[in-house]
Structures are given as structure tokens and as C-alpha cells.
Symmetry: C2
Subunit: 157 residues, 2 copies
DNA sequence: GCCATCCTACTCGGATATCGTATGTCCGAGTTGGTCGGG
DNA sequence: CCCGACCAACTCGGACATACGATATCCGAGTAGGATGGC
């Protein structure tokens, strides 16, 4: 069970974008230089964020990415599931209905107890991530951080 | 973020082994036939369970696998982390200290806030799994299930 | 009939191929801002 | 001096290679139970 390396990238990118002035954008190249990560691959990983409605992208000069919603309405879960997908890590393939020990279908109306426990753990994980918004995170950083981010990221700040 | 398919196998195998009489064993071949999964690959996945001290293996005729501890002392977390490893899914590579926006080391004494949130979610997941033991699971299955498992799995029951 | 020995069959354990996905890179379509010429 | 059209550079978006780990398989070392021969 491993999240893509790019998960860290997009979380930090979203945090940085949240520190920009409303309407301002940062390009994939600027973000890549800010974190020293491959520019092309970062752009590729930001795309699903746009499709998920977390970020908005504008092309052309002075274009780039910005938050599509207020920072208070974007949770960690939104970002993580956008880049990694929403499929739960444990997939029940109903092996209890296969092989020599296959249970009759009438005993499988209820969900597999094992799968239920795994689903509960996954739900706990999702709940924990959904409880944190980008706005919550910004409240934890120093006062001087946003100005610094704007200056080093976009050059205007 | 995806758990190996074998996670389902070993969870069901452990549950079945917990239904055997104390000291009784089931071979990898018997378990594979019981669930209709590849026998060699299942044996490979049961090995880390033995190394983790969850299962015990005996060789030779009438040998096989059995629980190394009472079912009440084996949690889902023990099994899942044995087969999948204990590394957390989100790995903080400290990109906040890299690139144009690198923070000075003195501002990085505290853990990265983003990594802290991800670690908290992972801790929540682990806590949820650690709260379920094999004994808990056995209390949810029908009365007639253990006898049936013993009969179809080992032929003696 | 009992026992020690040998043997056979069965077990796990690790080493070895194959496949799929994450990772990394590249080029093309589209758009905006600036520039240049004309009025 | 003001305005419109053109151009060029910059942006994202999707298509194309590569590396690593999960998946699947096989063969060898070791052991316990049973058969066998002797006492």
C-alpha cells in the first residue's frame, strides 16, 4: 500500500496556491522550480486535480493553475483521491464463494465480515483526511510565509 | 494506494486456521484448494506471516500452518502489515527543503504539517485495524461454520 | 509380538520468470499578451 | 496619439518510453510418518 510520490507534490502545490492572492496563478514550471521536481511529470499529476474540480487551469502567457474553490472548501481527501483515485485499497473478490469451501449464495447476502472491517478502516482514514482543509493548514504556518511564497513562487509579492 | 490481492487470501486463511482445533494444521495446498487460489503464490505470501510470528509452520507429512498465538491476540493489523509491510503509504521526502522555495533548516525542526496530517490519517487506519482480532471475527460467523471449515479444509472434522 | 532402521512422500523455503502500473519524458493544440503598422 | 490586426511566446493537455514491484511459477532442503526387516 503506497501512495504515489506525486501525492506529496500536489499537496504542497495546493498549499502554495492557497497562499496566492485570489485570482493569481502559478504555472507548472514555476511550481516545479519551487520544489525542484520534474516539471513535465508534475504537470501530468496536476491534470487530475483539474478534472476533479480542485484546481482550475488557464493557458497562454500569465496562465497557470489556481484553486478552483475557496481554501476552506478543499480537503486533503479531495486532493489525495484526485491524484490516487477513489478505489479502496482492499478489494473484496469474494473468494468465500470460490473453491472447495465456497459458501452457498444464500449465506452471502450480507457483506463479507472481513471486507466490512477493512472498509471500516478505510472509512476511518477518509474521515481523518476529510476533516482537514487547506484553510486549516494555512492557519498553522507562520505569518510571513504567504508573502515569501508569493515572492519566490511567482516573483510578484 | 492498493493492497496486494494476497491480503484477502491471508486474511481468509487466518480466519480459517482460527477455526481449527488447537494444534491442528492446514497445508498451503489445502488452503489453496479451499479458496481456489494459486498454491505456490499463496505459500509465498504466507511466509511473511510466519516471519512476523503470526503463523507457525511445520514441515513434513501432516505438517502445514497454524496460528502461532491465540486468536484473541492476533489483530487484523498484524496480518495486514505482515503481508504488506509497515511502511506508511505517504512518505515525506521533505520537498519543503528543496528547490527555490526551500525553507531554512531552523524552520523545519517541527515535522512538516502536511506529513503530520497524513500520518494522523494513517494512525487512524491502523487503530481501526488493531481493534479487530480474529476472535472478534469468529464471534460473527454462524454456529455451524467451524465444523464445516474443518471438514472441507482438512477433511477431519 | 516388539523395536530399531530405512525409506518414501509430503512439507515449507527461497530462487527464478512474467506482467502491470507508477514514473519519467516528449511534442502538439490553443490562448493570451505584446508589438507593429495604419489612421 | 489611438486603434486594430498580426505575431510570437508561453500555457496546458495528451501521447509515448522506461523502471520497479506485484504476480505467478518452479525446484531444492528438510522432516515426520509409515513400512520393513530383524530380534
Amino acid at each position: 500500500m503506497k501512495l504515489p510520490v506525486s501525492t506529496e507534490w500536489v499537496l504542497h502545490c495546493a498549499t502554495s496556491l492557497a497562499q496566492l492572492e485570489p485570482g493569481a496563478t502559478a504555472s507548472a514550471g514555476q511550481l516545479a522550480g519551487y520544489f525542484d521536481v520534474p516539471q513535465a511529470y508534475l504537470a501530468k499529476q496536476l491534470q487530475p486535480l483539474v478534472k476533479a474540480g480542485v484546481l482550475a487551469a488557464t493557458t497562454g502567457p500569465r496562465g497557470g493553475f489556481r484553486l478552483a474553490r475557496p481554501a476552506a472548501d478543499i480537503t486533503f481527501l479531495d486532493i489525495v483521491e484526485a491524484v490516487d483515485g477513489t478505489a479502496p485499497p482492499y478489494e473484496c473478490r469474494e473468494i468465500r464463494q470460490q473453491g472447495r469451501g465456497a459458501l452457498p449464495a444464500e449465506d452471502c447476502r450480507a457483506a463479507c465480515p472481513i471486507a466490512a472491517k477493512m472498509a471500516a478502516a478505510h472509512a476511518s482514514w477518509r474521515t481523518s483526511l476529510a476533516a482537514v482543509t487547506l484553510a486549516d493548514l494555512l492557519s498553522e504556518i507562520p505569518e510571513w510565509a504567504p508573502e515569501r511564497t508569493r515572492r519566490l513562487l511567482t516573483g510578484t509579492g
